[in-house]
């Protein structure tokens, strides 16, 4: 029972990371495309909460190595290269953002920080998508007999993985766009972000399609898994069908309704993903699977982990609520 509960907590952390961390990464991507216009909005809107937004990743990783060590080991060996690239991008963007925000002077250096922040935001999400893709693509060999490329390169360097990477980039930029619509102060800013959202949403549909096509063409596991799960299909269809409604909300400037609907859209996408995985953590290239039961630690560990997480939940959620209320409550007034 603890195994399932812990898995659910990890799922919730990942959903929150997708939405909150995604908005944060996406802000960098938006800046990359629409430039300095959005710069000050991004800094102001993100600064108080951005540290907290990244804690979800730490929580997820700790759950992984504490509760599901075998999955953590696969992540860190077969996917060593993209994980390292992801981490380097995380380091670059985190420091660049902080530097830009806290530097005592606003001079030419700001341009350098911004450039690093923007590109590394994009790369971080891209490599994260590439890394995640390997869990459900069926590119990881189930044994260690393969060559270097089979073990460490083809696991993540393929059309499918790149499609997932691009998809995640578009989705984060989309989330950030929706978030920033409520933060911009001018009509002009609103419109330029609105246009960007349309554009990026189109790209996400293309890359989403590319995920399916590449899975078919390369005969991977993803489409087989997806098509055998009606709830996932339903989640995907509903998530797509609410798009016109969101379009209307954007036109009508209904900021909070829009944020909530898009949040729900993301939850649907994530649930669609979780359902095709459940109860498996990794799907190997020969179709065999590493389930959460195979990967989990001993019962004593799961029990202690669950209670530590439960304490965490009791402490974290009220404090987080307080933080968001303190800094995001004025938005309600405007």
């Amino acid at each position: 029972m603890y195994t399932e509960l812990i898995m659910i907590i990890m799922g919730i952390s990942l959903i929150l990371y997708m939405i909150l961390g995604g908005a944060d990464f996406g802000a960098g991507i938006i800046e990359l495309f629409i430039g300095d216009k959005s710069n000050s909005t991004v800094s102001r809107a993100m600064a108080p909460v951005w540290e907290a937004n990244h804690m979800w990743l730490i929580i997820a990783v700790v759950i992984l190595f504490n509760g599901f060590p075998k999955a953590y080991v696969i992540l860190s060996t077969n996917l060593h290269i993209p994980v390292l690239l992801f981490l380097i991008a995380i380091i670059m963007r985190g420091t660049a953002f902080t530097f830009r925000h806290y530097d005592a002077y606003h001079d030419k250096s700001e341009k350098i920080y911004s450039t690093i922040f923007r590109y590394s935001s994009l790369l971080a999400v891209f490599f994260m998508g590439i890394t995640i893709s390997a869990f459900f693509s069926g590119t990881i060999p189930s044994d260690t007999s393969g060559t270097f490329t089979e073990q460490y390169i083809y696991t993540w360097f393929n059309w499918f993985a790149v499609s997932v990477g691009v998809f995640l980039v578009t989705i984060s930029a989309y989330i950030a766009g929706i978030f920033l619509l409520g933060e911009v102060e001018t009509e002009e800013g609103y419109n330029s972000i609105r246009k960007f959202i349309m554009w990026i949403f189109g790209l996400s549909i293309i890359s989403g399609a590319s995920i399916f096509i590449s899975s078919f063409v390369s005969d991977l596991q993803f489409h087989k898994l997806f098509l055998s799960h009606p709830i996932s299909i339903a989640a995907g269809v509903i998530a797509s069908l609410i798009a016109p409604y969101i379009y209307k909300l954007i036109k009508a400037k209904k900021i909070w309704t829009m944020r909530i609907v898009v949040g729900a859209q993301m939850v649907l996408i994530m649930i669609g993903w979780f359902i095709i995985q459940w109860p498996n953590l990794v799907v190997f290239s020969d179709g065999t699977k590493l389930s959460m039961y195979d990967a989990s630690g001993p019962v004593a560990t799961m029990k202690v982990l669950f209670f530590s997480l439960a304490i965490g939940v009791v402490v974290i959620f009220p404090s987080l609520y307080y933080l968001f209320r303190l800094f995001k409550s004025e938005d309600n007034l405007s």
């Binding site: 990244h54 700790v62 420091t95 560990t301």
Partner: protein
Amino acid sequence: MEDLMAARLQMAISLGWHIIFACIGMAMPFLMAFAEWKWMKTKDQVYLDLAKSWSKGVAIFFAVGAVSGTLLSFELGLLWPTFMEHAGPIFGMPFSMEGTAFFVEAIALGVFLYGWDKISPLAHWISGLIVGISGVMSGIFVVAANAWMNSPAGFDFVDGKYINIDPIAAMFNDAWFTQATHMTFAAFASTGFAVAGVHAIMLLRGKKIRFHKEALKIALIFGSIAAFAMPITGDLAAKDVAKRQPAKLAAMEAHYHTSKNAPLIIGGIPNDETQEVDYAIEIPGGLSFLAHGDFDAEVIGLDQIPEDERPPVIVVHFAFQIMVGLGTLMMLIGFIYFFMRWRKWDYINNKWWLRILALATPIGFIALEAGWTVTEVGRQPWIIYKVMRTKDALTAMPGIQYSLLTIVLVYSILTLAVIWLMHRQIKSIHEKYNT
């Protein structure tokens, strides 16, 4: 370079880098809260300025500490997957508690930095205190995990299998308490001396503003008190090591031959060939006394440790000497400080005193890195003492040299960038005060 060597170096560099930010993250919030408290009591603007500019420093160091810590939590697996596969479920509990502590820290820091005019002064001050408390808590949690590697507990190792796992017993292993107390004081000692040193340098450069004087006073209180705690907690740590890791103690002291009434060796160059220490000063019976509290006690030497289980003596011995030497020096400086305070001397305007403090800026951090070298290199060749060897934990992926190279490059650039940024922060303060 071999993969094993590259991986060890990469781990050492990433941890050695992170620890500096972690220590600042533990100690600095208390300095900042102390300044704010003085401001609340005296309404003296200079304390408010101090609290505000220190809080900016905390924010910068926190963010850089956070990203380097994120790297670490993956790096444990990137480099040592076999270790993590078995150790993860056993020593993971402090890490999961640490996660909560980090979260609280990040939230409280957000409130502190951006809540100056949104909440009451008292609530604001408390949020600063929470940043510090949760920072220290998270430090204690990770150190408990590290202590488990030195003093494995909470499982039985039978036929290569890890059974009867008890994560709570693993966390409260024999070493956690001594290591955690020594480490926590070390964070205050090194940060206190570094901050006092930086402000002393500013005063010496003629920036004689009250801002620097008050900053120096606050930092010195913290640093000096902690400096006194170092030899005391360090002695407890050494007695602990003598009990549970005789090989490490022997390497620290370059103690080659098992003997009773063993001498304490100061300085000198250990010679692995002749198994002697050249040019050393010896204090008869000193080691026996320090390790076991009895001048005649027997101290196990390296000769009783199988050859393939001996840590590298030279590195560990030198690192230990550096730590203890600098620790003694810091205590001495702390002593002079308290003496001058007691006699009400005008130390803050004394050039020589400021020069001493300026020179002492980095010594706390040097001692800290040296101390970690003792702990970690002294554990070799084990990654889990007496259970798993470091070489058996290494990842199967070849080419770690390239990842080492990347990490070195990234961290070198970042180090320069952080120094540059701090320089600009200080410059802006001087512009504000027109000096």
